[in-house]
């Protein structure tokens, strides 16, 4: 198979990466030309991750929910609520951070369980259950905060969002490379990550060949890896010369790897896809579909709680409005990432790229000073275009 045919039959996957690269390139040029600012400055890249981490984290969970054939509209409110719980426990009750974090995750899990129970075991449409949850937990947030902002958080809690991985090499490497500021840990981590990406890619190719599958053409493989690794190292370098790897990015990277592994290599992950693809067939194959749907919602709740704490830590206070409308960004990211609306398909990596596309657009448009009105219109059109592209590709 020629490179061209191969790209044609895998248009969706490559299209995503190409779209992200194109959007980044577009903003780099336009931002430079119009207001003479470096879009890819270390500071802005750091900001980009800090601003969008919560969307990516929740999109990981939302993918599972959507693959299972459901939807969760309540996550924005759960973000607000768990942020409020964190504030009340930390600021008002004086709990230590190491107790607050697990407590909030448990609260998120319980919320997910409370909603998942009705969806999974009572077959109540998830749209209804989580719409109710959206109202209930927004109201609960207002009640818990008494309509006020609560803050500020102690430094240790703030570091959840604004902290950085310390440089274990100290100043030695800076002297070595003759630079003022260089976070060696950050650089080391991304280089190792890039090597792992290439290694896993090569292993996958060998495996495909062993299965008698048409492997990715060598040229395409190396170009794709060059882009991905180049981007990784570039971003890592930029972060390293600023303040290092944000804690959030590490959390994000670990979660992404864990969920990618779960969805592709673990029995339960596989079963969620089967259940979303054909629930009755899955059930007749001995899969406990109810339990899996329940798990997807619990998982979503836990991730929403994590996002809630990150958002609260970033704002350094809990506000009754926190998280409002987040569910829409997250759901949009999952669909831009190529998940099927009817369930049964979608990939973690696609979702991460989808969320990054949304994030880069948010960030770029804000830098350009484009009004929130235009921003919403553009984001809406991008979502629509991505899904139309999917449907068109499928019918072709």
């Amino acid at each position: 198979m020629s490179e061209k045919n191969y790209l044609g039959s895998h248009l969706r996957e490559y299209g995503m990466i190409m779209a992200l690269v194109a959007i980044v390139f577009f903003f780099t040029v336009v931002v430079r030309a119009t207001i003479d600012v470096d879009f890819l400055s270390a500071q802005n890249i750091t900001n980009l991750f800090l601003q969008n981490s919560y969307v990516i984290i929740m999109a990981l969970g939302m993918l599972l929910v959507i693959v299972a054939g459901h939807i969760d509209l309540s996550i924005g409110s759960v973000v607000g609520f768990t942020g409020a719980v964190a504030a009340v426990l930390t600021v008002n009750q004086g709990w230590p951070v190491y107790a607050v974090i697990p407590a909030c995750l448990v609260v998120g899990g319980l919320i997910g369980a409370a909603q998942g129970y009705w969806v999974a075991y009572w077959k109540i449409p998830s749209f209804i259950v989580t719409l109710a949850g959206m109202l209930v937990f927004r109201g609960s947030t207002l009640w818990l905060l008494n309509g006020q902002n609560i803050g500020p958080f102690p430094r240790s809690f703030q570091s959840l969002s604004t902290g950085f991985i310390p440089d274990i090499f100290g100043d030695a490497d800076q002297a070595l490379f003759g630079m003022d500021r260089l976070n060696g840990t950050a650089l080391l981590i991304v280089v190792v990550a890039a090597c792992i990406v290439v290694f896993l890619g090569l292993r996958k190719r060998a495996q495909d060949a062993a299965f008698g599958l048409t492997p990715e053409p060598a040229l395409v493989f190396w170009i794709r890896n060059a882009i991905v690794c180049g981007a990784l190292i570039f971003v890592g370098y930029k972060l390293a010369i600023f303040r290092g790897l944000p804690n959030v990015v590490m959390v994000l990277a670990v979660l992404t790897v864990v969920y990618a592994f779960f969805t592709e290599q673990i029995t339960s992950g596989r079963r969620i896809y089967a259940l979303g693809g054909n629930e009755k067939a899955a059930k007749l194959s001995g899969i406990k579909t109810e339990r899996l749907v329940f798990f997807c919602f619990v998982n979503m709740g836990v991730l929403a709680a994590l996002a809630g704490m990150i958002v609260a830590a970033r704002l350094n206070s809990s506000t009754p409005k926190a998280g409002a409308g987040f569910e829409l960004d997250v759901i949009a990211a999952v669909f831009i990432g190529g998940a099927s609306m009817t369930g049964g398909s979608g990939k973690i990596i696609g979702v991460v790229v989808g969320a990054l596309i949304m994030g880069v657009m948010n960030n770029g448009m804000s830098i350009l000073g484009i009004g929130i009105d235009y921003q919403q219109v553009i984001k809406g059109l991008v979502l629509l275009a991505a899904v139309i592209f999917d449907v068109y590709n499928k019918n072709k």
């Binding site: 299965f211 008698g212 029995t267 896809y273 089967a274 007749l284 194959s285």
Partner: protein
């Protein structure tokens, strides 16, 4: 009497199948004409041609109706001629009222505004005609199936019906509802409505029909007058054909009893007091192919699915033993662990994840078989799928192909592979050759024989009697939720099976 309808030389081709071949049907004005035939004989196809579901041009032959030739493009055309069909599955909207249903698409309205008083008045008149004492505002979903059937007839009357076609109208009805319906048919006949009834139930046909046309393998076999109607004659005409297919040779070698089911009772999942399976009992030996014969709605699938993890029905009770030991099959997982497998009759809706590749479909029921502590080994998964692709001769470039792209026969092989990978002792195959071509059928038969030779027990549910006769060592006959007879290979014949079904119909305790 004048002839109202004459269908001459009707032929209808589907890709690869000649569903109707030169069928002739002549219906006199004012008579009740019955059409009989086995499942798949072509009765429903013929009625779809007549009602315009298959438009003019998609079939060969002429329909002469009321002196003129019909060339209908759609159901609307046939309805405007007064030809109205009531399908086996009722076409009522359960959440709307009787009046709304009766005039659906045909509203009593002027300029789009519904005249409710007039609509209600007309509804009352129609309900009176069909002998139904309900308010026009009653929600249809709250009525029983018998009453809904009457509403379907009232709906036909609302459209000035001249030729009413009823497709197995009593299949879902209780005895006294059936009687009411048959009475109504006779009353409509007295009012001059010509009717065609499709039915398997010979006692009903004997009661209402003036003439009967028997169809077999897509052709008209005979048309009998009332005086000539006899059960023997009808059964002979319905089944009297040569073995159309060939079956691979096999020397049966049954061993000890593998699966034994006793006192199996199942109730309808929604209607709590409707018993679907009554005191069913059967056995399967090692290396034996056991058939379950019966007409549609006899409860064969319900029996199989209730055995397999209670996937059908409620209030399931009874005993199952495997190799003499009682086993628990109350969930699919437990049933699989006990050594059962069920290959569904509806492979697209219940058997396969169409958008997933062959390899993932094959591993689905036994993911533990390709995993270590919950981590999937995709290399092993592909190897397993590749092995089955070779063994079953699944025609595909590779096992990563989505099953939606496969033909029916190859899809069926994927479903069989899925269940074989669970290493079952007993396989229940529900209509294993439905919708697949002759060549693939032969391959499936060969696979079945091989499985039996390996010492597995096989239960084969099929609506095609020649297939059961050609493949099975023993045949159980089911009717109305009960096993009404058992025939050895030597005893079994289509006539005997049909007779067992006919003789037991309506005689349930």
């Amino acid at each position: 009497m004048t002839t109202l309808l004459e269908m001459r030389g009707i032929s209808k081709l589907f890709p690869g199948v000649r569903a109707l071949d030169q069928v002739n049907l002549s219906v006199e004005a004012g008579e009740i004409h019955a059409i009989c035939g086995e499942n798949g004989a072509g009765k429903s196809t013929l009625m779809k041609v007549l009602s315009g579901v298959y438009p003019h041009g998609s079939y060969e032959g002429d329909i002469v109706y009321d002196g003129g030739t019909l060339a209908m493009k759609s159901i609307t055309d046939s309805e405007s001629k007064g030809i109205i069909i009531i399908h086996q599955e009722l076409a009522l909207v359960p959440l709307l009222s009787i009046a709304e249903n009766l005039f659906l698409g045909n509203e009593v309205a002027k300029g789009g505004v519904i005249n409710w008083p007039l609509a209600f008045q007309k509804t009352r008149d129609l309900l009176q005609k069909v002998g139904l004492n309900e308010a026009p505002t009653t929600i249809v979903g709250k009525l029983g199936v018998g009453k809904q059937q009457l509403i379907e007839i009232a709906k036909a009357l609302a459209k000035d019906v001249r030729l009413l076609i009823l497709d197995e109208p009593t299949a879902a009805l209780q005895e006294n509802d059936s009687q009411k319906l048959l009475d109504l048919m006779l009353e409509l006949k007295a009012q001059g409505v010509t009717q065609i009834i499709i039915s398997h139930k010979l006692n009903e046909i004997g009661r209402v029909a003036d003439r009967i046309t028997i169809i077999r393998d897509g052709t008209t076999v005979s048309t009998l007058n009332r005086a000539d109607i006899s059960e023997d004659r009808i059964i002979r005409d319905m089944v009297g054909r040569d073995m159309a297919h060939r079956y691979p040779d096999r020397t049966p070698n049954p061993g000890e009893v593998l699966l034994e089911v006793k006192n199996w009772n199942v109730f309808h999942p929604d209607q709590k007091d409707r018993q679907m399976i009554r005191d069913a009992a059967f056995t399967v030996r090692k290396g034996e192919i056991v058939g379950i014969a019966g007409l549609m709605g006899a409860g064969r699938t319900e029996l199989a699915m209730s055995l397999f993890g209670r996937s059908y029905g409620r209030g399931v009770s009874g005993e199952i033993t495997m190799g003499g030991k009682p086993v628990d099959t109350s969930t699919v997982t437990k049933a699989v662990a006990a050594g059962l497998a069920y290959v569904t009759e509806d492979r697209k809706a219940l058997g396969l994840i169409l958008e997933e590749p062959i390899s993932r479909n094959i591993s689905l029921a036994n993911l533990a078989g390709i995993a270590m502590r919950g981590v999937l080994n995709q290399r092993r998964e592909a190897q397993v799928a590749e092995d089955y692709r070779r063994a079953m001769n699944i025609r595909t470039p590779n096992v990563q192909q989505k099953v939606v792209n496969l033909s029916g026969g190859n899809q069926q092989k994927v479903v069989l592979s899925k269940w074989l990978f669970t290493d079952p002792q007993v396989l229940i195959l529900d209509e294993p050759t439905r919708g697949i071509d002759v060549g693939a059928k032969f391959e499936i038969y060969n696979i079945m024989n091989q499985l039996a030779a390996d010492g597995r027990g096989i239960v084969m549910i099929s609506s095609e009697m020649p297939e059961l006769l050609g493949m099975c060592d023993r045949i159980y006959v089911m009717n109305e939720g009960r096993i009404v007879g058992e025939l050895s290979r030597a005893e079994a014949s289509q006539e005997r099976i049909m007779a067992m079904i006919m003789n037991s119909t309506g005689k349930a305790a």
